[in-house]
């Protein structure tokens, strides 16, 4: 099934022709209407007339989150506010908030993108979709809401939180698809269990669309084993509009619609493009956004791309699961560590649960110390202290082999680590730099 079969199956040449035409229009528009981009292009010594083909893309300067903050709130917009029909804003936990504006066309294209995605993972007008992403300034709730409605699905606009109600309505209304963060899905299934509701047998839930935080194949397996549903990855960031892309039923990467976005993978240090299949930071150029077009936007997400034709028949390139955030990267004793690597190790150890915390501290002698707290699962043996000590040692050794740095492992009783209803904040950095 396709939402827009003609576009979704265009040949690579046809897609590149669209991309080239739209890229040329984009650079002219931003140069004309945005003092920010004009200054940027001049600083980089590039004029729109020099962008003649897709190969010229790398001549253009990058745009970063800091640019949006520095020009807060509207300095990067390319249309007058009279044409803006909506704002979304990111929380400003790591600095000033960033504001994204949308024209009516931007909203339409966002809906188009997510409709294509939802159909690609099997959502239809027959489905009842419970949207447990936050509604409001965060793009998750409203993004899914508009697309699911456009698709003709029945929407349960419950937003995030209020877990007892989520379980109750899921049961009573017959929800078939849920959209939320993967960590919230785990929490929700635990909570349902405590309420005496087995999601696999007592509800109609058959699929979940999970994102807004990096997650792993192991988490997918845990969710699927625990709830009997199919778990799909969704990708998008507020700056690009919101949730835009999901895996198709092949579950071999997330299709990025090439008629709307040009994707590159670059080395996060040098900014040089890397080869097909190589790991790096995802960079996206929006070629159909009006209010806030982004030229070579550094997403901060580490992934890799494949552009051969997918088994589902779609020709648009796929990005693979996000391996981590360029800015989630922790530097411990000079070694780069991604929290996703730690999660990956922990999820392969049946004696511990899926919730964990990373605590960084600096010892008096100046060396960093990383402590990983993780909950015991009901598979652990606790007859003697060495059962626990050996388990901690086993985890520490596995972590060392993956991270190349030692971590102290502390196991704790189940249910004692913090649960997160939105984006998980699993790192506590006590180091005074």
């Amino acid at each position: 099934m396709y939402w827009n079969p003609a576009i979704e199956r265009l040949s690579r040449e046809e897609l590149e022709e669209i991309q080239e035409r739209r890229l040329k229009a984009l650079v002219n528009t931003v140069y004309e209407y945005s003092p920010f981009y004009r200054r940027r292009f001049k600083d980089a010594g590039v004029h729109p007339s020099e962008i003649k083909s897709l190969d010229d893309l790398s001549k253009l300067p990058f745009t970063k989150k800091q640019d949006l903050r520095d020009n807060y709130p509207f300095g990067t917009f390319c249309v007058p506010l009279s044409q803006v029909v909506r704002f979304h804003a990111s929380s400003g936990t790591t600095g000033k908030p960033t504001v994204v504006g949308y024209t009516a066309n931007d909203i339409r294209n966002w809906v188009e993108s997510l409709c294509r995605a939802l159909v690609s993972c099997g959502v239809s007008s027959e489905d009842i979709m419970q949207i447990a992403y936050g509604y409001g300034l965060f793009t998750g709730g409203l993004g899914f809401h508009y697309a699911a409605e456009r698709l003709g699905s029945t929407v349960v606009p419950i937003s995030a939180g209020n877990t007892a109600r989520q379980v109750e309505l899921m049961k009573d209304l017959g929800t078939t698809v849920i959209a939320c963060t993967p960590s919230y899905m785990l929490y929700l299934s635990e909570y349902a269990e405590e309420m005496g509701v087995d999601i696999a047998n007592d509800t109609n839930l058959r699929a979940g669309i999970f994102g807004a935080e990096p997650w792993s194949e192991e988490t997918r397996k845990r969710i699927e084993d625990k709830t009997g549903i199919l778990a799909y990855d969704v990708y998008g960031t507020s700056e690009l509009s919101g949730p835009l892309f999901t895996e198709c039923t092949e579950r071999n990467g997330v299709h990025i619609w090439a008629d709307m976005f040009i994707t590159e993978i670059v080395d996060p240090e040098t900014g040089e493009q890397v080869g097909e299949g190589e790991k790096g930071e995802l960079v996206v150029t929006t070629i159909s956004k009006e209010a806030l077009p982004l030229v070579r936007w550094r997403t901060g997400d580490i992934t890799y791309m494949e552009s051969d034709k997918c088994g589902c028949g779609r020709t648009h390139p796929r990005i693979m699961r996000t391996l981590g955030r360029a800015d989630d990267m922790l530097i411990v004793r000079g070694v780069n560590v991604f929290p996703s690597q730690i999660e990956h190790v922990l999820l392969q150890i049946p004696e511990v649960g899926e919730h964990y915390m990373i605590i960084l501290d600096r010892r008096d002698d100046g060396l960093d110390e990383m402590t990983i707290q993780v909950e015991l699962s009901d598979r652990v043996s606790i007859d003697t202290t060495s059962d626990i000590l050996n388990l901690e040692k086993k985890i520490a050794e596995r972590l060392k082999s993956v991270l190349n740095v030692w971590a102290k492992v502390e196991v704790v009783n189940p249910g004692t680590l913090q649960r997160f209803e939105g984006k998980a904040k699993r790192v506590i950095d006590k180091r005074k730099i």
């Binding site: 015991l376 009901d378 652990v380 043996s381 606790i382 007859d383 003697t384 202290t385 626990i388 000590l389 502390e410 196991v411 704790v412 009783n413 189940p414 249910g415 004692t416």
Partner: protein, 137 residues
């Protein structure tokens, strides 16, 4: 063989009280008790009068808790009793991993063991006529 309850607790103020509070609330009497501590955590081992009930209330309270079969022997509460048993096990080449004991009005002295070879230990203790086969009250 009797059932021992073991509970994993973080080594923090109030954690033991959290365990004992649950037992007290449910009118469960502790007959024997020991803590093995190892840095950040400890393992509480105990024998109680209402084992299943204790297991369930601790489990429900979120503790990591297990039931284990352990060997118990019943001896006179007098000098030399533990020595006789320790020597018999030692002579048979059986290693004692941990041991704790208690006395009460209902029982003579009860000694609880975890050993390297449970089956052989049982036959050694059976020959001595000390293996406890009753129930903890």
């Amino acid at each position: 063989m009797i059932k021992q309850i073991s509970v994993f607790v973080e080594n923090k103020p109030g954690r033991l009280a959290a365990v004992t509070e649950k037992l007290y609330e449910n009118n469960i009497n502790i007959r024997a008790f020991t803590i093995a501590e190892a840095g950040d955590f400890g393992i509480i081992r105990m024998v109680v009068d209402k084992t299943e009930e204790a297991y369930n209330v601790l489990k429900e309270a979120g503790f990591t808790v297990r039931l284990t079969d352990v060997i118990a022997v019943e001896v006179e509460d007098e000098p030399g009793s533990l020595h006789k048993i320790a020597k018999a096990l030692g002579d048979a080449g059986i290693n004692i991993e941990y041991v704790y004991a208690f006395t009460s009005e209902e029982h003579k002295a009860l000694i609880i063991f975890r050993v390297s070879d449970k089956e052989r230990a049982k036959s050694v203790l059976e020959k001595l006529g000390v293996l406890f086969k009753g129930e903890i009250k």
